[in-house]
Point group: C2
Chain length 92, copies 2
């Protein structure tokens, strides 16, 4: 049963890699929901604390990786969704 949990965790974690690659290649993330990734990342942080609390290495490990991937998607969305010229606007 533990092996099944490991495979399940690997799949639901690496699933975010193709999403990250897609955003990176297309330089577009407008269909991605900010609210989804913000809620998701807060949830992942709580899973991380929960993992430490119950001393579960798989929970800790999978959630560290998912946190990094989710945060990277959120940052890329922020970068690519900014209207053109905003960078110069905000440098004022």
């Amino acid at each position: 049963m533990d092996v099944l949990g490991l495979i399940a965790g690997t799949l639901t974690t690496i699933a975010f890699v193709p999403q990250l690659v897609k955003i990176w290649r297309s330089k577009s993330a407008k269909d991605i929901s900010y609210v989804m990734f913000i809620l998701f990342i807060i949830g992942i942080i709580l899973w991380e604390i929960y993992g430490w609390g119950i001393h579960s290495m798989p929970v800790i490990l999978f959630n560290v990786i998912t946190f990094i991937l989710g945060l990277a998607i959120l940052i890329l969305k922020f970068v690519f969704d900014r209207p053109a010229g905003e960078a110069t606007e905000t440098s004022k």
Copy 2:
């Protein structure tokens, strides 16, 4: 510790709701990765089997809801991403 796990699971599950709403409203999902949601749903099915195996009601419950939300996002992407006119094309 269990309460923390429940809050964490609730957040990482309901996170998919705003994504679903966003796609429904904009009728666009081109920035969403098919590969992400296919891998994710397969992972969720394995989590579901794992949940039954270890008799964990939270794992079973959260993953049923996440499965429905993930599948709905995948179906909406399929519907909205089809090129205009394809519906009549395929009806031949």
